[in-house]
């Protein structure tokens, strides 16, 4: 009785083995298809992301390249400016030193002039010298007079006077000088007969 029942089950199994196999394959196919679709979508998604990331990377790389070029140009320009600034600073220091020296020299010269010059108007100082001149056959006696304006203003007009005596007879020579500036001078020469004596030289 038991063998008959067992043979019946085996018989059913043998009869349905293809159905069962078909069902298992179908389930496996569904799973494989699902997995396949999942990884297909995932691949598509990742490929999109990769493309996007590659695009972002390229864009960033271009931006970086442009910025790097700007930075390099700025570095070159800044180095150049730095060198020019250093040179200009040295030139300025040198010029500043020159100006200080020039100021010192000018002030010293100006102080000397200020101490030398009389203040409050023109002042005429006189120097003269006499000497024999001419030739042995035709000798002369020369008086050379120089008037110096040692004041601090122009003398609009003054007269150089030279009083001489020859053979007991006095005479006066005069020369009018116009517009003699401060620290300027005027020279005049008179030629006399030998034996002439200079008595007085003055300015009015």
């Amino acid at each position: 009785m038991g063998d008959v029942k067992g043979n019946a089950i085996l018989g059913k199994l043998r009869k349905n083995i293809f159905v069962i196999g078909f069902a298992v394959l179908a389930i496996a196919l569904i799973i494989a298809a699902s997995v396949g679709v999942y990884y297909y979508d995932l691949s598509k998604d990742r490929a999109t992301q990769l493309t996007q990331k590659q695009s972002d990377y390229t864009a960033l790389n271009n931006t970086y390249g442009a910025l790097y070029n700007s930075y390099s140009a700025l570095v070159t320009s800044d180095n150049d400016l730095n060198e020019r600034f250093t040179n200009l600073t040295n030139s300025y220091d040198s010029l500043s030193s020159n100006v200080s020296s020039s100021e010192s020299a000018y002030d010293a010269l100006n102080t000397s002039v200020s101490k030398f010059e009389e203040t409050g108007g023109p002042a005429i100082a006189v120097y003269y010298r006499t000497y024999n001149s001419g030739t042995p056959a035709n000798p002369n006696f020369t008086v050379n007079i120089t008037a110096y304006n040692v004041g601090d203003e122009t003398d609009s007009q003054f007269t150089i006077n030279c009083k001489v005596i020859f053979d007991g007879t006095p005479s006066v020579d005069q020369q009018v000088v116009d517009n003699l500036a401060p620290l300027d001078k005027k020279s005049i020469t008179w030629v006399y007969t030998p034996g002439t004596i200079v008595d007085t030289i003055w300015v009015d």
Partner: protein, 214 residues
């Protein structure tokens, strides 16, 4: 019996062949399904490896991007710092450039003033050594009930060398008597002067005044 047995065996063989074909025919859908499964499985495996490869590439690309982004940020910081520093340097350069130009004009003015003054002095000074020019004033001074005479004289070294000594001398007469006044000054430099101030009685006359130098 024998032939009967042999005929029976051929029939069984034909039955067996028919059965295999029949069985294959019966599992044709199963076989087709298996082939489809193999294809789909292969595709699924392909997409699996493809997605694994893509995630690896994506991770690498993300890493590259992040690295580049860090470099970019670093470069941006350096660039901005340099722009700030360069702007400050430009400002300093412009400032000193303007100062230099102003100072340059001052230097030219100063040089011009110095040259003018120096030229004036060169023209004024005698180049032959010590030359002493004299100016004087002889005048009455003091109160009306007690007048006196005063001689002010100044000697100027208008030469280009120092005088070791300068003597100012005057010959005065008073009631027919003559007298000499004199004062010696030492080391009188070019562009410097010496001064005398002498007081006399009211009847004194100036006869002559002169200088001597060495």
């Amino acid at each position: 019996m024998g032939s009967s047995s042999s005929g029976s065996s051929r029939v069984e063989d034909n039955d067996t062949g028919d059965n295999i074909l029949e069985k294959l025919w019966n599992i044709k859908f199963t076989l087709a399904l298996a082939i489809v499964l193999i294809i789909v499985g292969g595709l699924a495996a392909n997409y699996y490896f493809q997605s694994r490869d893509l995630i690896s590439q994506l991770n690498q690309k993300n890493s590259d991007y992040d690295g580049l982004n860090d470099m970019y940020n670093n470069l941006t910081y350096n660039y901005n710092s340099l722009v700030t520093s360069d702007d400050a340097l430009s400002q300093k350069y412009n400032d000193i450039y303007n100062k230099y130009n102003v100072l340059s004009v001052s230097d030219e003015d100063l040089q011009s003033s110095y040259d003018n003054l120096n030229g004036t002095i060169d023209n004024f000074q005698e180049s032959s050594g010590v030359v002493i020019a004299l100016t004087y004033s002889f005048y009455q001074s003091g109160p009306s009930n007690s007048p006196e005479k005063v001689l002010d004289a100044t000697a100027y070294n208008v030469g280009n060398k120092m005088a070791n000594s300068v003597t100012i001398e005057s010959n005065m007469t008073n009631n027919g008597n003559s007298s000499i006044s004199q004062q010696i000054f030492y080391n009188v430099n070019p562009l410097s002067k010496v001064h005398v101030h002498w007081d006399y009685s009211n009847s004194t006359q100036l006869s002559s005044i002169w200088t001597e130098q060495s």
